[in-house]
């Protein structure tokens, strides 16, 4: 096997990881943010892989995220059947566990949910006020916008994965400071759908209040 054949695959792989300059990076982010214009709400089905340092095997689950930009409400639902529902509840969040019929109202919010609670950023200035861009890379047919949340809160890197063509957000990857990570890939994205108010007010009738 010639040397060129030996090194070609890695060289090709490295070429696909081409870093993008700051100017181009901003353009990519702006284009992605522009895809949200005219969107009043969004319903995203996703699959999630959580690789935790403390578990031998990663946890794979699917779920749904519903965001209403007009009211600032969100609903995050994980598991089939649903294991956890988190909705915005005034200044805090309401966590519901249908499997055990328990709920918790948390007034201070949850650091990891704060990004969802505020929805995805819609302008470049809003984006920059919440995230510091570490790098923008093109990997295959996607752009990876690697950021660090300015508020810290135990998250080392927060990566937005955006289609190179179309600039749609296709997933999010979170690297936590303990070495664990969460990869979320969007399987379907629906915009401006009809949302009944009950989506953001799950019934907790018969549920027991607890502290998870």
């Amino acid at each position: 096997m010639s040397a060129i054949r030996l090194f070609l695959p890695p060289l090709l792989f490295i070429a696909t990881l081409a870093p993008i300059g700051a100017q181009d990076g901003n353009e990519i982010i702006s284009k992605w943010l522009a895809t949200n214009s005219g969107t009043s709400n969004v319903k995203v089905n996703f699959s999630q892989t959580r690789t935790m340092r403390t578990l031998k095997v990663p946890i794979r689950q699917s779920g749904t995220l519903t965001l209403d930009y007009r009211s600032g409400k969100f609903r995050w639902e994980l598991g089939r059947p649903t294991q956890t529902i988190v909705v915005k509840d005034g200044g805090g969040v309401l966590i519901v566990r249908p499997s055990v019929k328990k709920y918790e109202r948390r007034s201070g919010g949850m650091p990891a949910m704060s990004a969802l609670a505020r929805g995805f950023p819609r302008t470049l200035s809003e984006f920059n006020s919440r995230y510091r861009v570490l790098s923008v890379q093109k990997v295959g047919s996607r752009h990876r916008i690697v950021t660090r949340p300015r508020s810290g809160s135990g998250v080392d890197e927060f990566t937005f994965v955006v289609e190179a063509n179309g600039s749609r957000l296709t997933g999010i990857e979170i690297d936590l400071s303990d070495g664990s990570s969460v990869k979320t890939s969007f399987t379907s994205v629906k915009r401006n759908v009809s949302l009944p108010s009950s989506v953001f007010s799950p019934s907790i009738s018969g549920y027991e209040a607890t502290k998870f």
Binding site: R53, T54, P149, G152
Partner: protein
């Protein structure tokens, strides 16, 4: 008298060198609490926080960045950079993130269980029976599968059996959710650095060490500061305070002495124009300083920050004796022994009177002021002897060589009626202003230990504001002569805190009695823990079966390992403490034992921090409060008491003395008028905002009173000798008073630049007060004398 042929530069240089060497031999105490009354619970509290919960070698480094994540990175990066200097840094203690806490906290958790109430431990052990352990694991897995990424999920991964819950149970007494190492928004953070390679009890050595650390910090900042958006780095804590306070005291003493000497030289030059005589006078002053400093070091040991001001005051006072000798020799041409016989007694009496006034500062509640008073009194005695026996022969020799110069008059006093009008006008105005606005108030926020422009103090204040005081908590310190005594005192503190909360004096109290080592509980828990150690394999196997990785079992393993290690010490002497550095370091934030004493650090949140009722409700001999908020009020109350206790009897005594000295009610009235007038002027200057009073410079009032009486006695006797001839009195004693008053005012005034705010304010008030006394005695008192005595005739 061949000696006086020496070049003036040589003699001043030699004496200057002696003074400098004496200064280098002095050890300054950087302990700022020594200067304040130790019986105040606030002062005791601050001293105890410093004594028990900080170490001489423990530096605190604060970092501020534009965003939380960058501040976190900056702390990690700077800590790593400094750790490389093993010749300067023994250890760095920075905030652990959650994962690090879980990884390193095993030994501390094990200790908490060993020290916990027996029933709490037995409940937890029971909950980890075969079925119980499985249920706990199921709950942890449910949390992990919930998808929530909060701290609870991370903890559930590392601690599925809930061992860490003990920290929450015991820590619940601790109530506060505030992070002790970062501001709420995370942009301001701190870490601790344990220094090595220096003698941290010596501030000069600490200063050298600190400058090397500062170099490293500057180097790191130049390299990484911009990337991490670092806007400020502060160095504070004991070594920084010691280095800065010590250096500031040296600077204060040097600057004030140099300024005093230069200004007095200028004054001497203007009045006498005799450079060689001046050089010898300077040499005599520096010799006085050198002897006093050496004696002071022997008698008092370390000098406090307030004593740094004594040298300038001494210079201003001691020079007077030299001037009196010089002028008397100039006027009479007497040889030195005769000069000593004629002027000696008056110098010794004047010295004794002034020394007594300064010694009266011992009645003040402020030990710092008392020490300064003692040093000045000592210096006055030394100065009188040096001037009489060393400077007098020199002054005689110089005057024998010189051609006498005619003495010029000082300029007349205002007309009798005008001076009477001034007296009445000023007194009436002062009375009106006092009636309208009340007596001048003392500064409520005054902190005598405040050091101006001290970077370490600024960083300390910033740390308190952004981290420790943001919730309004004040440190509460419980002290005991033994662990049992401390446990008893802690129970008393808890009871008092509960009562104070019921009475609405405080909102909240955080007293972590659960963190006190409890040997009896440890002995009682040792058996159940020893039995439980056998369950380790079962629990580890359960974790493995449930899919937990090595990291997931690490905490559980480390708890069992720490228990094994600790159990062997349980039956030994004294309580068992955490076996690792992190555990010990964490416990030492709350409980410590030093020099045979034990202390616990708690906190209370008063409803009205400046009101002392809550301090009085909580404080005992064993409970103190490091409350800066109420310290100003406490000091003001204390000094107000002092003033009545010391000043009024002193005033009565002086009036009796004046009556005996003058044997004339008119002269007594004139002297009292002078004092009243000076007081009225000072009152008006205060009302005009030019002077402000605090618990420290209020102690200058007796000094002003003493100088005022001194000046008036000299002038009244001179007027008597000259049969009311104002011009003759002013030409003679007036000139001497002008020099003495100006030199004393210069001595005090030079302290205005002192870094200790209390000392600086004392210097300003005394400097201005002495000038007022001097002006009154030279220019107004003679007119009043003529007025009152003409009325008689």
């Amino acid at each position: 008298m061949r000696l006086i042929r020496l070049h003036p530069l040589i003699i001043t240089s030699v004496c200057g060198l002696l003074a400098a060497l004496s200064l280098l031999g002095v050890r300054f105490s950087a302990d700022l609490y020594e200067i304040m009354p130790a019986d105040l619970p606030e002062v005791r509290g601050m001293d105890e926080v410093n004594r028990f919960f900080s170490r001489d070698s423990q530096l605190i480094i604060t970092i501020e960045s534009s965003e939380s994540a960058l501040a976190e990175d900056a702390v990690a990066s700077l800590a790593e950079h400094l750790e490389k200097r093993s010749d300067l840094v023994e250890r760095v203690d920075r905030e652990r993130n959650l994962a690090e806490l879980v990884n390193e906290g095993g030994a501390l958790i094990a200790w908490l269980w060993l020290n916990a109430p027996e029933e709490l431990l037995s409940d937890h052990i029971d909950s980890l029976s075969e079925t119980g352990a499985e249920a706990k694991l199921a709950k942890a897995l449910e949390q992990l599968y919930s998808g929530l990424l909060g701290a609870e999920t991370v903890v559930a991964g590392y601690d599925p059996f809930g061992f860490a819950s003990v920290a929450e149970t015991i820590g619940s007494e601790n109530g506060s959710n505030s992070d002790p190492m970062q501001s709420q928004d995370g942009t301001f953070r701190l870490f601790y650095l344990e220094g090595t390679g220096a003698d941290f009890s010596d501030y000069r050595s600490a200063a050298t060490w600190l400058s090397k650390i500062r170099e490293e910090v500057d180097f790191w900042e130049a390299k990484e500061g911009e990337r991490l958006a670092v806007s400020k780095i502060g160095l504070t804590g004991t070594p920084a305070f010691m280095a800065e306070v010590g250096a500031e005291m040296e600077r204060d003493m040097t600057v004030s002495v140099v300024v005093t000497i230069v200004l007095i030289s200028l004054l001497f030059w203007i009045m006498h124009r005799r450079p060689r005589a001046l050089a010898w006078l300077m040499a005599a002053m520096m010799l006085t300083l050198a002897i006093t400093l050496s004696l002071g070091a022997v008698l008092f040991g370390e000098l406090s920050v307030m004593s740094a001001g004594f040298a300038a005051i001494l210079m201003g006072l001691a020079v007077d004796y030299g001037i009196v000798l010089f002028r008397e020799s100039m006027n009479t041409g007497d040889p030195a022994p005769k000069l000593r016989r004629t002027v000696g007694p008056s110098i010794l009496w004047a010295g004794a009177t002034t020394a007594v006034v300064f010694l009266s500062l011992n009645f003040s509640s402020l030990p710092g002021l008392a020490e300064m008073g003692n040093l000045v009194a000592l210096g006055i005695a030394v100065g009188a002897i040096v001037m009489l026996f060393a400077y007098a022969p020199v002054a005689v020799a110089f005057n024998a060589e010189a051609t006498p110069r005619p003495s010029r008059p000082l300029g007349g006093s205002p007309r009798v009626k005008v001076s009477a009008a001034i007296l009445i006008g000023i007194l009436a105005l002062a009375t009106l202003v006092t009636a309208w606005r009340g007596a001048p108030k003392l500064e409520a926020n005054f902190h005598p230990f405040r050091i101006r422009e001290s970077p370490s103090m600024i960083a300390w204040q910033e740390m308190r504001t952004k981290i420790q005081e943001r919730e309004g908590f004040v440190p509460l310190i419980v002290r005991g002569s033994s662990l049992e005594d401390l446990t008893d005192a802690t129970a008393e503190a808890s009871t008092k805190a509960q009562r104070s909360r019921d009475e609405g004096l405080i909102d909240e109290a955080l007293i972590s009695s659960g963190l006190l080592p409890a040997p009896e509980r440890q002995r009682a828990n040792a058996g159940p823990i020893a039995a439980f150690l056998k369950e380790q394999d079962r629990l580890t196997a359960l974790l493995d079966e449930a899919g937990f990785s090595e990291e997931g079992t690490e905490l559980t393993d480390s708890i069992f390992e720490a228990w094994s290690e600790m159990l062997s010490s349980v039956q030994g002497q004294g309580p068992v403490l955490p076996v690792d550095d992190f555990g010990r370091w964490t416990l030492e934030r709350v409980y410590t034992s030093r020099g045979g004493e034990h202390a616990l650090l708690g906190a209370v949140r008063p409803t009205s921090p400046r009101d002392r009722a809550w301090v009085e409700a909580l404080a005992t001999d064993r409970i103190s409060l490091a409350s800066i908020g109420s310290l100003g009020v406490a000091l003001n109350e204390k000094i107000r008491d002092d003033l009545w206790r010391v000043f009024l009897p002193m005033l009565g005594l002086l009036v009796i003395m004046l009556a005996i000295v003058f044997r004339s009610w008119r002269d007594l009235c004139i002297s009292l008028f002078s004092l009243g007038f000076s007081a009225a002027v000072i009152l008006l200057l205060t009302e005009a905002g030019l002077l402000s009073w605090n618990s420290f410079n209020l102690c200058g009032v007796p000094l002003l009173f003493g100088t005022g009486i001194d000046f008036s006695i000299h002038m009244v006797f001179s007027l008597r000798r000259n049969e009311g001839n104002v011009e003759a009195a002013q030409r003679g004693i007036g000139k001497a008073l002008l020099f003495c008053g100006s030199s004393s005012a210069i001595g005090f005034g030079s302290l205005a630049t002192a870094s200790a705010y209390g000392l600086a304010s004392l210097g300003v008030v005394c400097g201005i007060g002495i000038l007022v006394n001097m002006i009154v005695a030279i220019w107004l008192l003679p007119s009043w004398y003529r007025w009152i005595h003409r009325c008689r005739s």
